[in-house]
Symmetry: C2
Subunit: 286 residues, 2 copies
DNA sequence: TTGCTCCTCACGTCACGTGAGGTGGC
DNA sequence: TTGCTCCTCACGTCACGTGAGGTGGC
């Protein structure tokens, strides 16, 4: 029995025009009968249902296309939207402020800072895939809320975006999957936690070392084990290390970030001090 | 000296096409020179700047029109967007869940609930103005996360939207301003606070009464003072009381909410019990 | 033949961007 | 006259909604 468009729409919950549009966009490809009528298979109707759900969730037809023929796509969509919503939240806050005190100049300045931040975070997410990219952009996002006041900062911003536009972090498939697996639980709360921990460590590295000495030593021991040497974790670390030194991440991106953002410079300097302390306390650390 | 479009754009930060569009939409009305060229006054350029800012904040041209010729409009925009973002957040959460466990049917059910909730909240905000509307919709929003399973609930939903579509809460200008003033600090955190307080009171009204007896008694005393009787607060309370009994709020809306949402019924029953207890403890309460 | 479904255009939406083609000013 | 600015169409965008006009099936 043929399933014509009316029936297909009733069982998928779409309108006729919507279904026709998805057919035109080749999201579904119903069979064509001799008289020109479309015949929707059961699979077609299932696809229409999913399309409807994804549209209600706010995905574009392009995004739906990607989701329907690849699992991982939904994750990338989710990351992009998370970033967009972050921007929306900031803008909403600015609207409230503007309504309260009518300070147009201040709002303009904030908007400019916000736009720079979003530019950098978008590119970071484009370079670093999956949850790892999300982690990276949450990490740097914290230091991108300052206005640009000097020429040096303007130049640093150009250097940052220049680097990010040309960088490519192409993990081999196997490591990409491993990384996705490892970072699956990197949501906002988790990252905030890591960040807090890191800040504590950086602030008073000696005390942190005292408290977590055991954990550290176990970790270093693990790193020297043969099992670790053969593990994907080890290959991933090696890949990232190579990327950092070969791509310009260490020599171009990080220095530019330090020039762009005072708070990032402060953080990074503290990190380096902490690193030196750890090396002193723990000779086989590096 | 005339200011032609190129100059006006440079000093407002817009593109020529954007500025032309705003002129076409009558957001600015530059003078027309004999040769057909547009001449932008200083005021026009100021308006263009503001338009640019508001567009970057995400307002539509319609909304900008309202903001440019009435102060309060920005507040209404802010409320609408707050509601929309609330929906966005929920949808984002659903995307994450879908990516994690692929449970399409569950997501569909959540989307349906979400849509009903948004429908009701939108109308609530349309009926009740300003921060007061925001408070009301935050209050009821908490009880609108349940799926519809029975016919009675379906009917109750229709009754709720029917009521909200026809209700009108037109405060006299003077009371409207007073209400806006009073509720200016009703943000999310404040409402959560009030809600928590209320829940505590409702759970164990006797204990709550013990603890806050003084405050209550002062409040009741105040209400009997002559100053209060002449205050806008008193007139506002009277207006709301009249609205509640005359519009169908008490007789249609609240009963329908109780049929629609189990959690609201539970809350409301507890509230009534608490009310009875208070009346017993405190004879001149009602 | 009558109603109902199906089909394919065509036009509108929103805030512009991207030209094209023509005129004014120096 | 040359180059630059100004003007006003016209068309495209995204995911459909709203018809219009014509055909197929019972």
């Amino acid at each position: 029995m043929e399933v014509l468009i009316h029936t297909a729409c009733r069982s998928s919950g779409l309108t006729r025009k919507a279904a026709e549009y998805y057919v035109e966009q080749q999201l579904v490809r119903p069979a064509l009968l001799e008289n020109g009528y479309r015949d929707f298979s059961e699979g077609d109707v299932e696809r229409l249902k999913k399309i409807g759900t994804l549209r209600k969730l706010g995905l574009s037809v392009q995004e739906i296309r990607a989701v329907l023929d690849g699992e991982g796509a939904l994750l990338e969509v989710s990351r992009r939207r998370e970033l967009a919503m972050e921007g929306e939240r900031s803008r909403q806050e600015l609207i409230r402020r503007l309504a309260a005190d009518q300070d147009w100049a201040w709002v303009d300045a904030q908007l400019e800072t916000l736009e720079r931040k979003q530019t950098i975070l978008e590119r970071l997410q484009a370079v670093f895939p999956g949850y790892y990219g999300q982690y990276i952009s949450l990490h740097f996002g914290r230091y991108l809320n300052e206005p640009i006041v000097s020429e040096e900062q303007r130049e640093a911003f150009a250097a940052v975006t220049g680097f990010l536009d040309s960088a490519s972090f192409d993990l081999p498939q196997e490591l990409r999957e491993y990384l996705d697996e490892m970072t699956r639980q990197f949501d906002g709360a988790f990252v905030a936690d890591v960040q807090a921990n890191l800040e504590e460590a950086v602030k008073d590295p000696a005390a942190y070392w005292q408290e977590h000495q055991q954990t550290f030593e176990q970790y270093l021991l693990l790193k020297q084990s043969e099992a670790y040497q053969r593990s994907p974790a080890c290959r991933l670390t090696a890949y990232i290390r190579r990327f950092n030194s070969a791509s310009g991440y260490n020599d171009v991106f990080i220095p530019a970030m330090k020039r762009l953002s005072n708070s990032y410079r402060a953080y990074h300097d503290a990190l380096e001090r902490a690193d030196r302390v750890l090396r002193e306390q723990c000779p086989n650390y590096g």
